[in-house]
Symmetry: C2
Subunit: 342 residues, 2 copies
């Protein structure tokens, strides 16, 4: 069997990280890249500021796909279904398997039922799989909760919390989370939708609920400013004491007014400056209770890169259609030849 | 679709627990029980010391299978492949899906390659699935390690530790673990094989290694007495200070003399009396590191009962053959109708 041929669509921080990870792995090769911001085609090595690699990168998907005949594409360009649906259709119609880290694609069936159905049908027609993955949604606040419930006889409710440090992230993330703003600016930003916190609760909650057979009436989200008591500084932003260090975004699925699934994701810069440790926390209340802690948290960037690359063999052999992490066999790191897992 | 019809083979503590759990679940029904120790057929309710349930229990498998026409059997009679292979053949030949908590069956391919092949072939001929599961092996020290590696780019080594309290268990377990013995008696028991600690390391290690593509040259096991500094007492046993409270059983997979996978399972009565907390601990060393803690540990008995019942829908729709937990989609608790998951 030949090496698995992968193209990377989107060469920002995530896309570059996936290329670097793929270069360390056996049985899989990067054969091309697509980056819309590119003005003219170039070599991937040159694009990355290194030696020539003989791998083409272009803004033209058609050109790359025809030149490289890939088996699978990792799509890392946008958070929303509507921002990736055209690209997915393009790829699927050419018989290319798709792994995307678009957060909404982790479980798009509730927020985008029509587009989900269309993607699923198209993928089935062309005999390929489309999967949304990433560290969150895709892993910590959904797949891992589902997995941990295996040893539980009765689940009454679930509470999970992912506490991370936004410091490594850039300007866009700081703006989306309201970092460095005054409390008034934050409140206004939440109102007008420019500050929206985490994209993923409306995917993770229905994914967990469907898997475990839990029902709920509504999902209530809150976005509160994390007001810093101290001055916090990163290369990207300065937060004065009294201003906003991040967004405490929570989502609660309620049944008859009682919480069934509560997900909390306070994201901020330098939580350590107020003695707040980072970590992933999952509690299942039922028979028996279960309490899990991962400290520090599975890092967002690296975790997403790893998840997208590690699932390649599972996607290549999954049944055609639009799938979620809960549909696939247990996904995991791969240290030998990727082809051994097919 | 009719309710899923389950027979419970083996009605000891585990089997009784599975029956009780199944009775609380929708879309699935216990239609019969098999218990070899029974002198004459009786009603399951009467056997459990309750009201009549109209469900037959017998020492005769043929009789129960013919009367009840089950879809699936949960087999809870023995720890070893050789202790369940005849029963599995009997069930599989009659087109009945098999879930067993026999520890060795969680990943029998290395310790029992010939029997594994035979079971796999027979299951394929008859179009049914055979799965070994349980809390450990089957979940904490293998499936969960595999799952947690998803967010890791490079795995160098793994160390996991399951610390539990043996107090709820009976005489057999106390003897297998050497609880209450003198250090001399313990050492002799390990030598002559009467004290053997945990059954599962020789399954969990190859299961994790295969999934992650890690290689090793050999597995080295050690069984050390946990010598109590204080007097410990349970309804079953008394441990005088200076005597053995349990067995610290470890297994290390070595590659070129270096540990690749280290699993530790110190099992003892009343660890709390020396201030030792119970818990499940998983560390992955690589890029990045990961450190997970579940405290207290997922309880052994309840966790095994839950795992065996919760996997029923996955087993009913798995491809025919001898499968492991790593082959199936992510397994989980089920709070709605079991038939919704098929």
């Amino acid at each position: 069997m030949e090496k698995i041929r992968v193209i990377q669509w989107g060469l920002g921080n995530m896309g570059k990280g996936m290329v670097d990870m793929l270069l360390t792995k056996e049985g899989v090769e990067v054969v091309g890249g697509i980056e819309r911001r590119l003005e003219k085609p170039m070599d991937l090595g040159v694009y990355l500021g290194r030696e020539k690699m003989g791998i083409p990168v272009s803004a033209n998907p058609q050109e790359i796909v025809e030149r490289t005949e890939p088996d699978v594409c990792i799509l890392a360009i946008h958070s929303f279904v509507r921002g990736v649906v055209e690209e997915i259709s393009f790829l699927v119609s050419r018989g290319i398997q798709v792994i995307t880290i678009a957060e909404e694609m982790a479980y798009p069936f509730v927020t985008e039922p029509k587009l989900s159905r269309e993607i699923d049908e198209l993928a089935k027609v062309h005999g390929v799989t489309v999967l949304g993955t990433g560290v969150n949604p895709g892993f910590i606040l959904d797949t891992l909760i589902i997995q941990l419930s295996l040893g539980v006889r009765r689940v009454d409710s679930i509470r999970a919390r992912r506490v991370n440090d936004l410091s490594p992230f850039g300007k866009t993330v700081m703006e989306e989370q309201g970092v460095g703003r005054t409390v008034e600016e934050f409140t206004q930003g939440v109102k007008d939708g420019t500050i929206y916190g985490h994209v993923g609760f409306l995917q993770s909650i229905p994914m967990v609920a469907k898997a475990l057979g839990l029902s709920y009436d509504e999902i209530v989200q809150t976005r509160e400013p994390i007001v810093s008591k101290v001055r916090r500084e990163t290369p990207e932003v300065v937060v004065e004491a009294g201003n906003v260090a991040g967004c405490n975004h929570t989502a609660v699925a309620l049944k008859d007014g009682k919480p069934v699934i509560t997900l909390e994701h306070p994201q901020q810069v330098r939580p350590d400056l107020e003695g707040i440790g980072t970590g992933d926390y999952i509690e299942i209340f039922g028979d028996p209770n279960l309490s899990m802690v991962i400290t520090p948290e599975v890092p967002g960037g690296i975790g997403t890169i790893a998840a997208a690359v590690n699932v390649i063999p599972l996607v290549l052999q999954a049944a055609p259609g639009l799938k979620t992490m809960a549909d696939l066999p247990v996904a995991h790191a791969i240290m030998d030849d990727f082809r051994n897992h097919i």
